[in-house]
Symmetry: C2
Amino acid sequence: MIDDPSGIAPHVQSERPTLRTIATATGFSVATVSRALADDPQIAAKTRATVAAAAQRFGYVPDRAARRLRTGRTQVISLLLATEHEFLGFTHEFLTGITQVLAGTGYSVTVVPDSPDGDRLAPVRTILRNNLADGLLFTRTEAFDPRVRLLMEADFPFVSHGRTEFTAPHPWVDFDNEAFARNAVEHLVAKGRRRISLVLPGDKFTFTQHLRYGFLSAARAAGIAYDIAEGITLDSPTPDIAAVLTAARRGPNPPDGYVCVGEVTALVALAALADTGALYGVDADIVAKRASPIFDNIRPQIDTVFEDLRETGRAMAEMLLRRMEGEPADDLHRMILPVPSF
Amino acid sequence: MIDDPSGIAPHVQSERPTLRTIATATGFSVATVSRALADDPQIAAKTRATVAAAAQRFGYVPDRAARRLRTGRTQVISLLLATEHEFLGFTHEFLTGITQVLAGTGYSVTVVPDSPDGDRLAPVRTILRNNLADGLLFTRTEAFDPRVRLLMEADFPFVSHGRTEFTAPHPWVDFDNEAFARNAVEHLVAKGRRRISLVLPGDKFTFTQHLRYGFLSAARAAGIAYDIAEGITLDSPTPDIAAVLTAARRGPNPPDGYVCVGEVTALVALAALADTGALYGVDADIVAKRASPIFDNIRPQIDTVFEDLRETGRAMAEMLLRRMEGEPADDLHRMILPVPSF
DNA sequence: TCCGATTATTAAAACGTTATAAATTACCCC
DNA sequence: GGGGTAATTTATAACGTTTTAATAATCGGA
C-alpha cells in the first residue's frame, strides 16, 4: 500500500489525475491544459486535440471542489421537497424525472426538506447565503410565494412547480388543475350527477385556486349542486377526511359525485361509499387525479385523470438548465396537460 | 440608492464572511481563527471565545468548497435510489427519514439513480473515483452485492438497506422479512387457509431469500399447500402480475390465502379476487406488507404488516454517521421489526 | 533582414480552507 | 534577571482550478 504522510482523506490520494498529470504528460503547462479542455479558441487546435486525448487516456475528471472554489459555481441543483403531496408516489416520480435529465450534465441533485407549514424561506436563505447550489427546484408553490420573491430579488435561477400571482414572469411548470377540475365536473354531469363534492388543498397554494375555479365554474355552468368540504384539506390526516366524507354521506343530501385531487382522497371517498352502504356507479361516481397506475387494480374501477410527474420533473430540470444558461424567464413556462382515462 | 464612487468598502460588507473577515476583526491571524473555530486546545480558551463570538456576529459559515478542497472531505452523503421498490411511497418515506437525521449535521444528501437491472457498480465507481461523497446509502441489496464488495475493498463508509451473504461484516439496516413471511403464513393458517400463494421479488436480492425461507418453512410446518408465482416478480409490470394471479384463480386449485410483499401486489391480488367473483374473507384472505396507511381506506380491509421506512432511513443515516466517525462495522446492524395490524 | 502584429503559450495569483513547522510570548524556577 | 520550558500564535504551503497579464513563437510585409 502507498503511504500517505499528508494525513489527508484516504480514498482521495490514489493517484487521481489532475491537470498537472496531463500537463507533465503532454509537456504543456497547467494553464494551457485547462484552457485546452475548455476548448478555448486561443489554444491551437492541435494542442486541444493532444490534451483531449491525454485527458481521455488518464480518465481525467475535473475536481469539483477546486472548480467550485475558483468559479463559485457549485454544480449542484437543490430540490426543496415538500413533506406532503397529493400522491404517494410524487417524490419518486418527480425525482426520477429530474435525475434523468441531470444525468450526464455534471450536476448533482441534493434534496432539502421543505415543510409547507413551517418556514419555507429558511432553506432558501441557507442555500443562497452559503452558496450551496446553482439552481433551485421546488413544489407546492403559493400564490405569493415568499421563496419566489426572494429568489427573484437575488436573481437566482429556479423553477417552481406551480404558478404564482406575481406580475414579473418566472420559470414554472404546472399541471392544468383548472382543466382537470372542469373536465372532472363535466364528466360527472354527463354521467347524470347533480350534487358533487370536492376536497381542496390548503388555501395558500396557487393550484388550490385553479382547482376551485375550474370546479365552481363548471358546476355553476351545469347548474348543479356542489360543495367544498370544510374544515379539512387534502393534507389533513386521512381519518379526518374520512370522518368528514362519511358524515356527509350520512347527512340529508349526500353527494352523488366526487372530484378527488389525489389518490388517497379517492380511496377515502371510495371507502366512505362502501362504509355507508352506497354503491359506486349507482349512488355516486368518482373522478380522481392520479399519478400512478394503482387504480387499475382497485375495485370498483373509478375514472381517473393522469398527471405525469416524471415528465414534470424532466421539464423542470430542463428549464432550470436553460435558465442557468442565462435564458430569460419570459418564455420558460410549461403546462402539463391532464390525461383522462375516460 | 447610494452610489459608490470610491469603489471600496460598501458591498464588501455584504460579501460572505470568511476566516479573514473574522481574523481582521479580532486581530488574530487566519490560522488562529481556523484553529479556534475547530476548538483546538492549543488555542487559549479566551481566544476561542472571542473568535467564536465574532464568527457568530458575522454569521460565518465555512465555505464547503474550500474545506473540501483542502481536506478531501465532501460533506456529502449519496443515496443510490433504486428505480423500483415494493412500495409507492418508499422514496418519500425513506428520504424523509434520512434528511431528518442529516438536518443540522452539515451533510447534504445527493440522490443518484440506481437501476437494479443495469450496471449497479457504475454510479459507485463514479462516486469513488471522483470523490463525490463521504458516505453511501443504498437499497435493494443483493446476496453478493458487487457494490458491497467494492466499497469494502475501498474502505469507503456505507450502509446497505438489506444484508448480504459476505462473511466480512458491514453496516446494514434490514427489515425482518423472514419474520414477516412467517407471521403472515401463520396468520393465514390460523384463519383456516390451506393453500397459500406468494409473489417474490427478483432472486438476486437477499431479502427474497429471507421471504422465501420464512414462507416455505412456515407453510411446511403447518403442512399446507403453497405456491410461489413463476415467471413474474414483484417488479414485473402490474398487468403481468394481474394476469398470473387471475389465471391461477381460474385454475383447478385457486389459493385461499395470499402473502403480499408490497402494496401494489396486494391491490392486484384483491382485484384478482374481485374479477373472478371470489369474496375476500370467504374465498381467500390476504396479508400484505405495507409502508403507508392507504389500506385503512381500501375495502375490503385486509390484514397488513407495517414496515417503517422512515425509521429505516433514520437508522441508516445515523449508522452511516457513526461509520464515518470511524466506528467499526462489527456492531453496526439494525433489524427493523414487522408491526402487524392483527 | 528585421519589425510589428498576430497567434500560442505560460507564470502567477487567487478562491478559502487546514496542517505543518516555526516563531513568539508567557511562565516558572533558581 | 537569566535560562529553559510550556503555552500561544502565526507564516507558509498546499489542495486543483481558472483567469489575467505577460511572454514567446510565428508570420507577413516592407
